[in-house]
Amino acid sequence: MGKISNQQVIQSLTLKFGDRISVPNEPFGLLTLETSVDHISEVLRFLKEDKELKFNYLTDITGIHFPEQKLSIGVIYHLHSLSNNVRVRIKVFLDGNAPNIPTATTLWEGANWMERETFDFFGIIFDGHPNLIRILNVDDMTVFPMRREHPLEDPNRVDKKDYFFGR
């Protein structure tokens, strides 16, 4: 249903970036590619400002944690080109001990709260973000709850006995 196809997007990207992005694949028709933290700003800027591709809508930014991998924390961007009706997913994996990545707020204002939420849950530092503080959790929380090692239940609760809840 799109005016340009995934193939054209892949061609434009590989023409411009070559081996700085991974080989793209398309799970369920959604073009997915991976890049590294040094090139993510250029890739996003190119996708947004290119006259043909016009990925002007930032759908979402989120994070993911794979503890067994070397680059364990990932940031995942979903972009959408409204005029061409094409979506793209970009993944960036970061070192778990120092997850820093440049911010996308210079390109889209809407990235502001999305990045705060990702910081709140995973501890990813977005360099250049105007106000990177916690947004959903309590302000004095020291851990990052969506990482895999953090438990779901509050261990200090008194009225529910873990034995009866199968844990």
Binding site: T59, W108, D139
Partner: protein, 403 residues
């Protein structure tokens, strides 16, 4: 909380007042806080604080099997919970490659459009209450009771419906449900018209809402707005048309689009969307007549629980039942993103699956959360009462804001 602006403001020479539009609001908008610097009646700047109802949906979803995540999705946008349920089921069906029969699609469309009407009724009613007109809200709440009765007939619950299963519905719509839907299509339009007569050309309402908080399309797209408020600015982005799901391409409906993006345009867009939803429901009822009767779920025994009589008598049904409940079925180890048009905008589900019983990572792209981040910058320079109307026209549902 102690480094919150409301506590660090202690300069006695300051010319502005700090007003805490705190988490406990009058008039039911939900729990979010705005600390505003006011110069008299005009807002100079504001800081939004959310998270007062953060229930960690995404973390819970990593510990529950797929069919147990449906009640969680109910409680995100609780004014139109069937849309969330259907969106989640469609995400899982996309992952597993299940194709639902047409009749199931049409039944889903009926339920989703009823939910959309229900959501817009609350938003427009509350907008009326915030401008001071309480009567319209009472009339619309009565109509919502009729929608609740239809939900009860289909699934048993009023508000947090948990409608449907992966692959379809848990039971067919019975004759009483169809009769109630047809009755609703007859009785509701006059009430909506009466509400329009009260509000659409009402001079006080127009003066309160027209010209308040106009937004131009580039700013709205920059802030990733979606849904009726984006359409009020002039961008005709609707997920039902761009990427049709659940056979929406078979239906004939228009998308209302506004011009200036102010509060009046948002109200009119929601109103018109309700009329379009009624149109869609009528078409769906006619289309269902043509489909074979009695089909209410896809033929996927690996993911759809067999009926209890078969489980007790039939060996295969017993095995499938066991495998589904214990989560022993293999699922593809991949990721999927699916978006539906919720009451507030593009509701997206990003599911990363590792083949186990529960998802590895499930992220909800919540429209209220993303729409609301523009509120604090937008309210700079406005009068306080205009800012309140602006907030209620954004239709921020607290459950979806914090998830």
């Amino acid at each position: 909380m102690t480094n919150h602006p409301i506590f660090t403001d202690n300069d006695p020479q300051k010319e502005t007042i700090t007003l805490n539009l705190g988490p406990t609001h009058p008039a039911t908008h939900g729990v979010f806080q705005n600390v505003l610097e006011m110069d008299g009646e005009r807002i100079v700047s504001g800081v939004s604080t959310i998270g007062y109802i953060h229930r960690a949906f995404e973390k819970i979803a990593e510990h529950r099997p797929f069919y147990q995540i449906t009640p969680l999705t109910d409680r995100m946008n609780y004014c139109s919970s069937p849309i969330n349920n259907m969106g989640w089921h469609m995400t899982v069906e996309k992952l597993l490659g299940i194709e639902t029969p047409k009749r199931v699609d049409y039944l889903r469309v009926i339920v989703m459009e009823l939910a959309r009407i229900s959501d817009h009724l609350i938003c427009n009613g509350i907008l009326g209450v915030d401008t001071g007109a309480f009567t319209g809200f009472l009339y619309l709440m009565e109509e919502r009771e009729h929608i609740y009765e239809i939900y009860e007939e289909i699934c048993g619950a009023r508000l947090t419906t948990n409608i449907g299963r992966i692959g379809g519905f848990e039971r067919d719509f019975n004759d009483i449900a169809f009769a109630k839907i047809k009755n609703f299509l007859v009785k509701f339009p006059p009430i909506l018209k009466e509400f329009e007569v009260l509000f659409n050309r009402n001079r006080i309402f127009i003066e309160r809402t027209s010209g308040v908080a106009p937004v131009d399309p580039e700013t709205a797209l920059n802030y990733s707005w979606s849904g009726p408020i984006l359409r009020a600015t002039g961008v005709d982005y609707d997920v039902r048309v761009n990427e049709p799901y659940s056979s929406y391409q078979d239906f004939d409906f228009d998308i209302p689009v506004g011009t200036s993006g102010d509060v009046y345009d948002r109200y009119i867009v929601r109103n018109e969307e309700m009329w379009q939803s009624l149109r869609i429901i009528e078409q769906a009822l006619q289309k269902i007549e043509k489909e074979p009767k009695g089909v209410f779920h896809a033929n996927v025994p690996e993911f759809y629980l067999p009926p209890k009589e078969e489980v007790y008598n039939n060996m295969e049904a017993l095995i499938y039942h066991f495998k589904i409940v214990m989560g022993e079925i293999d699922t593809p180890k991949t990721e999927v993103y699916h978006a539906v048009e919720g009451g507030n905008g593009e509701l997206g589900f990003y599911l990363v699956n590792d083949g186990g019983r529960s998802p590895y990572r499930l992220h909800f792209r919540r429209p209220s959360f993303i729409n609301y981040q523009m509120y604090a910058p937008m309210s700079a320079g406005m009068l306080l009462s205009d800012a309140i109307i602006n907030m209620s026209s954004l239709n921020v549902i607290a459950g979806e804001l914090d998830a």
